[in-house]
Every structure is written in structure tokens, then in C-alpha cells.
């Protein structure tokens, strides 16, 4: 039986062609057009070398602001999602009832469109919204804010909404990781008199490193690519304070500065790929075999 005959290349061709034409070509074109002055004002597209990138990375450029906001957003969403996800996973795994129902509820936001979540939270976070009403109910009147308008809190608010969306997803992955840890480890540790805290720090966490790593990588990629949720929630405002890179790409695009929009897209691409690979390598070094 000739492998090349039976496993014919015709089976591969449609996928490779569609993927190449509609995914790879735009990405490669992006590299090319990022070095042009492509815009809606003129009909000719001129090669300008690295000018767009020099503009992005020049001192005091608004794009550096976009970049730092994106990084802050990514780091903090990562911490909240993974921290709360781990907490929930431990809770759900601790022999409580209605485990699968809770899992289903926490996972639910992940199946909703981020845009729609953004729209809903506009109302919930408004000054007269339910978040402030809840804070007043528990006596924390001082903490009520105009969450999406106040420059001091708006980025934090978007971070919490994005985390709301993704905590359940983190929980499910970490829960699967927890369930893969053999129970004997805990029994042996308990016999030796290890506390819950000791068991958590010295058994759970080290054995959970692979799950924590993969969620960290994916959370980072999601964070850097975030668009819809912010677009709906704040539109990047007030005053560019929540303008993540992909939101800036859209704004450049709608102003007709296609070359610059493309260059920013390339920056998102480069950072996403670099950070994802770096985190994976760094964390995988600490893997403990179960």
C-alpha cells in the first residue's frame, strides 16, 4: 500500500489553500504594508521603510501609551482570571455538592459574545447601575463610582469585566489539572501532619504548573488581542485611557491611516508571539512530574 496514493495530497489541498489565502496572505501582506504610507487620502502607496515603526516607538508617542495600557490590561486580567479561577477550582473540587451545575454556570460567560457582555456592563457599571446599588446595600457607599467615566477606575473596571468573562474558563482547565493529582499525595501529607496550606503550596501548586502555564499563555494571548469587549464598553475612552492596541488599530483604520493601522497590527502580532513563547518556556522549566 503506497502511502502517498492512499493518503492523497488532494485531501490536504483545500485546507492549505483556504488557510493560506485568507489567513497567511493577509498576515504577510501586513508585514509589507506596514512599511508603506498606505492611506485613504492618496491613490498611490509609497514604501517608507520603518517610518511607521519609528513613529510608534518614538518617545511620547500615543502608541506607546496604547502599548503600555495593553500590557497593564493583559497582566492584571491574567492575575485576576488565574487567581480567581484557581480559587473556584479548589472550592468546586473540595467535595461540595452541585459541582457540575456550578461549573456550567461559571463557564457560561465564555459562550457569550464579548461585545454583548460589554453592552450589558455599560448599564451595570453606570452611576445608577446595579454595581453601585450593591455597594450601597452592603454599606460601602464610599466606593460607589462612575466606573466607566472616572479616569482612575475605568481601566480597572474593564479588567474586571474581562475577568468576569474568563474566570470560569480558567477554572475548568485548572479543575481538570487538580483532578489529575493523585489523592495519595494528599493522604501521605496529611499523615505527616501537613496543613491545608502546606498541602496547597507544596503539592497542589507544583503539580499544577502545566495547567497554570497553559492558562497563562492563553490568557496572555487573549489579553493582548482584546478588542470587542473594550470597543463596546468604553470605545477606548475616556481620553484614550482604555485604548488597547487593537482598539487603536481600528481607530487608525477609521481615520484612513491604513499603513499605520497595519504597522500596529504587526506590533500586536510580534508581541503576542514573543510573549506566548517566552512564558511557555519560562514556566515549563519548573514542571514537576506527577
Amino acid at each position: 500500500m503506497r502511502a502517498s496514493k492512499v493518503y492523497t495530497s488532494w485531501f490536504l489541498a483545500p485546507a492549505v489553500i483556504i488557510y493560506t489565502v485568507l489567513f497567511v496572505v493577509p498576515v504577510v501582506l501586513g508585514l509589507a504594508y506596514s512599511m508603506t504610507n498606505w492611506n485613504s487620502m492618496s491613490d498611490t502607496v509609497k514604501f517608507v521603510g520603518l517610518k511607521n515603526f519609528r513613529e510608534i516607538f518614538s518617545v511620547g508617542s500615543p502608541y506607546l501609551k496604547n502599548l503600555s495600557i495593553t500590557l497593564i490590561f493583559t497582566v492584571f486580567t491574567l492575575i485576576v482570571k488565574e487567581g480567581c479561577g484557581l480559587g473556584l477550582a479548589v472550592l468546586v473540587n473540595s467535595g461540595i455538592r452541585s459541582k457540575s451545575a456550578l461549573r456550567a454556570v461559571f463557564f457560561l460567560p465564555q459562550t457569550l459574545s464579548p461585545l454583548i457582555i460589554g453592552i450589558v456592563f455599560i448599564s451595570l457599571l453606570s452611576p445608577g447601575g446595579v454595581v453601585n446599588a450593591f455597594l450601597r446595600l452592603i454599606g460601602l457607599d464610599g466606593l460607589t463610582k462612575a466606573w466607566l467615566v472616572d479616569p482612575k477606575f475605568v481601566l480597572g473596571a474593564t479588567i474586571l469585566v474581562e475577568s468576569w468573562r474568563m474566570i470560569g474558563w480558567n477554572m475548568v482547565i485548572l479543575l481538570a489539572g487538580l483532578q489529575a493529582i493523585p489523592l495519595d499525595y494528599y493522604e501521605a501529607a496529611a499523615l505527616d501532619g501537613a496543613s491545608f496550606r502546606g498541602q496547597f503550596l507544596h503539592i497542589t501548586i507544583p503539580l499544577l504548573v502545566p495547567s497554570l502555564t497553559i492558562t497563562a499563555v492563553l490568557n496572555t494571548i487573549h489579553g493582548l488581542k482584546t478588542f470587542d469587549l473594550i470597543f463596546a464598553l468604553t470605545g477606548g475612552g475616556p481620553g484614550h485611557l482604555t485604548e488597547l492596541l487593537n482598539v487603536a488599530v481600528f481607530h487608525e483604520f477609521s481615520m484612513g491611516r491604513y499603513g499605520m493601522a497595519t504597522a500596529l497590527g504587526v506590533v500586536v502580532f510580534a508581541i503576542t508571539a514573543t510573549i506566548a513563547v517566552a512564558i511557555k518556556n519560562a514556566m515549563m522549566r519548573n514542571v514537576v512530574e506527577a
Binding site: L12, I18, G95, L112, F227, G265
Partner: protein, 274 residues
Amino acid sequence: MSRRKALSSALGTAGGWLLALVILVPLAIVVLASLKTKPEAATMDLTLPAMPQWGNYLEAIRRGGLVRAFFNSVLISSVSATVCILVSSTAGFVLSRNRTRLNNAIFNYIFLGLIAPLNYITTIRTFQVLHIMNSYVGIILLYIALGIPFAVFAYFGYVSTIPRELDEAAVIDGCNPWQMFSRVIFPLLKPVTITVLVLNFLGAWNDFISPLYLLNRQSTWPMVLSVYNFFGMHFNEWNMISAVILLGTLPVMLLYLFGQRYIVSGMTSGAVKQ
């Protein structure tokens, strides 16, 4: 000891449901608001409508142009998910079975698509050259392309658990490659097929950024874009906005209700070893 255990389990369960309220309350608010009058819905909260306004949904469908949007979303999501299955299952099968150096390179080439974000501006350029801007064909092809990396990856892994002897038996019985794949192998790939189908359908249904860049004609708009448009034009009518949102997410909710197992395992696979 056992009483203490029962108590802590009950406390944990209660705590779990208390935290679940953080997820459930916002959803409940939207459902309630969709049944309120405009002044009642001005503050979105957990109060019940004085009189449920069932007519809101009909009005939302009419004013939001949701019939058209619904069919657009169904068309775009189902066709792209189906074709993606077709091209990715065959590709994953061949890549898994015939591991030549070229095929390994192709696998890695496709795998890159799992990390790399798409550049939408140059996608517009590509669409213009191919004359598929503002068309169903264009956005469907794009969703297929975006779905291929994960689908090929999933099929690739699953095919390697199916014995090669089956292929050989089929070939000896006189099947050509297509018959062998479609009659013998493909039916065995059902778990991956359902997962990929559901995920791609969901992904296309919920996507906002692609139609935002690539569909400028309102007649082609899918549900999420229509929701956004409605929100932009009637931003103080929260009862209507909620009704539109509810109708826009209803199919997704139903899918989640019945296909939860596939959705949860699919959305976390790659991260979780099955």
C-alpha cells in the same frame, strides 16, 4: 469528623452558589429588563416588571431587523462550520497518517495560526482583490480559514488513536481514498466533529470584529453586529436593547444547554489533555 465534613461541604456549596450569583445576576437583569417598559428599564436592576411586556420581543425583532440578521448568522455560522469540518478532517487525517517531512512542515505551518492574530486591514485588501468584500462567500471563507488551525490540530490528534489497519482493510476491500475516508474513518471521528462544529458555529455567531471590518452592507449583517447597531441608535431604551440582546444570544444559550459537554471540553481542549 463526618459531621464536620458535611458541614464544610454544605458551607462550600453555599459559598459556591453565592459566587455564582456574580455570573447569574447580570444575566437575570437582562432577562427582566427585556420584559419591562422603557421607564422601568431605565435602571437595570432585579426588580420585577409591573406587567411583563411580551410585546417587546416582537417590537425588537421588527425594529432591530432581527429576522434578516438571524438568517445571516445561521447561514454564515453553519456553512463555515460545515465546510471547515470537511476540509480540516481530510487534512488532519492525511497529516496524521502520512508523516513525511513535507507534511510535518505543513502541520507546523497550520499550527502557527493558533497563536498568530489576523491582520484585518490587509484582509480587507485581500478581499478586495478577490472581489469578496461585503459578501457571504468572503466572510464564510474567512471563518473557515480561522477555524482550520484548531480543527486540523484536533483531528490530527484523534486520528492517531484510530488503528491504521482499518484503512488497509478498506483499501483491500476496494475502496478508493475518498470512500475509505468518508465511509470508514469519518464516522469514527464523530466526537471531534461535534466539538469542532459546535465551537466554529459559536465562534462565528459571536464574532464581531470580522463583520465590523468586512461587511459594510446592512443586509449582510449578522446578529451581533445588528445588536451593536441597535444599541448605538437607541442607547437609552434598555428594555429594547435587552430584548435584542436576549434574542441575539438565545441560539447560543440553547446550544450551550444541550451541547455543554462538547462546548466546555472543546473550548478547553488543547489546554486539557483528555
